[in-house]
């Protein structure tokens, strides 16, 4: 018998001694009606920058202003779905491809924006490579208000309703961080040093 066989046999033999297990209860909190305000509040507390714009088409100019303010080159790798926005009008060069270690900026959309904790859900795919939100030092996320959901449970329901599981679902809640040195939180560990959320209200 293989290791697999022996392990499962042992587990099955001991299973009979189990009491009936309780059913799972959801712990998802009930949030108030204003998800957008809660989301933005949480995001700011986590050390990300937030800019609210009217529509998605206003995003490129907000991004350009932010990059200039931080002396970051206006050069980014981005998700395919965002190519249609007016980047050229704001003098931001974007390319839809896999991210490289030397890309200064990565621009993504989101599968969902979770208000409970100020978290972005990013699902990998041919047009949404996982590295775009990971390799560059600056991560910009364009968040339409339609992406807002209350909890992670809601986000799973939405994602599973759309497609089979992607290879990687990443829940991102701010710039990378570590507290390994003297328990002092330092932003900018191995992932992005800064995160900008551009929230489009309409």
């Amino acid at each position: 018998m293989s290791a697999r066989g022996r392990i499962l046999a042992r587990l099955k033999a001991r299973r009979g001694k189990q009491p009936a297990a309780a059913e799972s209860i959801s712990t998802a909190p009930v949030l108030g009606p204003d998800l957008l305000d809660r989301f933005c509040d949480r995001v700011a507390r986590l050390g990300s920058d937030v800019v609210r714009v009217s529509t998605l088409r206003d995003a490129p100019s907000a991004v350009a202003r932010y990059l200039d303010a931080h002396a970051i080159p206006r050069r980014a790798v981005c998700w395919t779905e965002l190519l249609a926005l007016p980047w050229r009008e704001s003098s931001v060069t974007v390319e839809a491809r896999a991210a490289r270690a030397d890309d200064p900026v990565g621009i993504t959309g989101v599968s969902a924006a979770i208000a409970e904790t100020g978290t972005l859900m990013l699902a990998s795919g041919p047009q949404t490579p996982a590295g775009v939100s990971l390799l560059p030092e600056t991560h910009v996320a364009i968040v339409p208000s339609s992406a807002l959901l209350a909890t992670m449970e809601d986000a799973w329901v939405r994602l599973r309703g759309q497609a089979p599981m992607p290879r990687a679902v990443n829940f991102v809640s701010g710039p990378s961080r570590t507290a390994d040195v003297e328990q002092t939180v330092t932003l900018g560990a191995h992932g992005p040093r800064r995160v900008l959320l551009v929230v489009a209200e309409h």
Partner: protein
């Protein structure tokens, strides 16, 4: 990691005298304990941990079914699932995978189960280059030391020690600031991620519903290890399985708050299988190694609840013993209250005989455990087993035999108590060390008694 769990007493003694360590351990109270309390004010801790305990028990109650469901779903997504009965087997499987995929460089995300198996040493013996990428583990790798805490592995080191270590090993001018040290580590490690052939991680949870590996992290190194290299290997204990994605969402409320006081950790990655057709990044090969190493033997026994453990570290953060001696004294991967239970169970009670006794049974661990493991009950059960197997000193055994006899003979008990009350009236109230009980009396003043036992006084007052 070498097992030195039989050296608890001398190591604890050494730790108490180490001023630098004592200063570092102060962070447990000011950071971990305080931050956890603040984070749990946001939610109903008792209600959420009831749900957490139920989820873990539900998985354990039907473990073979959930493991098979997990395997099926993972394989359908392109992963290969391997089963290892022992640590050696797991190491062999992973070394073979490295050979099969022509791997030379491996980047690792922090994983306690890989420490349990001493995986790094096995891979290095096989000629592989293994780089730890979690900042704390990277520091430990440079210093060639074991971790002292399951969440904050270099809790025992201060900034100056780390600065000195970096200057020496990186051969660069010494940095003083914490931000600069972190930036230097980022710079040194980034090229390693890019050059690596294989990423090795653990798994905070295995999700049966979808065959996914869930990683709860903050630094981004876990994501880099599982995005850039062409092979990903995840090693996980069989007890890590949870039934559904919704269950994982509940545990995501408990784990970060219990561990670091965060409402949510910076990154939660749910990884399912290999690169899909059309994907531009991600591993081409994914291997999940399911490890038994003693876990299946605990199922169906009174010790089963320890398998619920989600490795948050809250128990050790709140433990007065751990707070004073730190993690190295426990002699293995798992310190504090959960280590006092797990280490004897995995390495043998005879090799860790002082660990279940390294507790005052204050119950702080039980109060904070997010999955309600009855840790003090489990330690008591191990103490009972020690007694059955004659593992403790003869003096201790005779003391317990005497105590048991007195407890069954009330008149003799009353006589002995009256004698003791008289002695304490004469001897007590002054600081003195007693021969034969030097450890106990060196730091304590003998209580003074008024000369009579409670029962005698009670009898007298009732008669009056």
């Amino acid at each position: 990691m070498q097992v030195t769990s039989d050296e608890f007493k001398p190591k604890a003694h050494e730790a108490l005298g180490n001023a630098r360590l004592q200063h570092a351990l102060g962070h447990l109270q000011t950071h971990f304990v305080a931050n956890r309390a603040r984070a749990f004010r946001e939610i109903d801790f008792e209600a959420v941990r009831d749900a957490g305990a139920a989820i873990r028990e539900r998985a354990l109650a039907d473990l073979p079914r959930y493991l098979e469901q997990f395997e099926q779903a993972a394989v359908a997504a392109g992963a290969e699932v391997h089963w290892a009965e022992t640590a050696d087997e797991a190491n062999r499987i992973i070394a073979d995978l490295a050979r099969r995929h022509a791997v030379r460089k491996i980047v690792k995300s922090k994983s306690m189960v890989t420490e349990e198996c001493a995986l790094n040493e096995a891979l290095e013996r096989a000629g592989l280059d293994v780089v730890e990428t979690d900042l704390g583990e990277y520091i430990l790798q440079l210093a060639q030391e074991p971790p002292s805490h399951i969440i904050a592995p270099v809790l025992h080191k201060n900034k100056e020690e780390i600065a000195r270590l970096f200057a020496e090993k990186h051969r660069r001018p010494r940095q003083e600031g914490i931000a600069e040290l972190v930036a230097e580590a980022r710079e040194m490690l980034r090229p390693q991620f890019v050059a690596a052939d294989m990423g090795v991680t653990g798994a905070n949870f295995l999700i049966a519903e979808t065959g996914s590996v869930m990683l709860v992290t903050n630094e981004g190194n876990g994501r880099l290890c599982t995005t850039l290299p062409r092979v990903h290997v995840a090693l996980a204990g069989i007890e890590k399985v949870v039934p559904t994605l919704a269950d994982a969402a509940t545990l995501a409320r408990l784990l970060p708050r219990s561990a670091t006081g965060q409402s949510i950790s910076n990154y939660i990655s749910v990884l399912t299988g290999t690169r899909r057709a059309g994907d531009l990044d991600g591993p081409e090969h994914m291997h999940i190694v399911l490890l038994d190493n003693g876990r299946s033997h605990l199922l169906g026994t009174p010790m089963q609840p320890i398998l619920r453990c989600i490795r948050c570290g809250a128990c050790m953060n709140h433990c007065p013993v751990y707070q004073n001696v730190g993690g190295h004294a426990y002699g293995w991967v798992y310190p504090g209250p959960m280590g006092a239970v797990l280490t004897p169970l995995y390495v043998g009670l005879e090799h860790a005989v002082d660990l279940p006794n390294a507790s005052t049974f204050c119950g702080a661990c039980v109060e904070v455990c997010p999955v309600k493991i009855p840790l003090t009950d489990l330690m008591r059960e191990l103490r009972a087993q020690q007694y059955e197997r004659h593992l403790r000193s003869r003096a201790e055994r005779y003391a317990l035999v005497l105590w048991a006899w007195l407890a069954r003979h009330p008149r003799a008990y009353a006589w002995a108590a009256a004698l003791l009350a008289g002695v304490l009236r004469w001897l007590g109230g002054r600081a003195r060390t007693l021969p034969g009980a030097r450890q106990w009396t060196a730091g304590r003043t003998l209580p003074r008694s008024e000369g009579r036992t409670f029962r005698a006084l009670y009898r007298r007052r009732r008669a009056a």
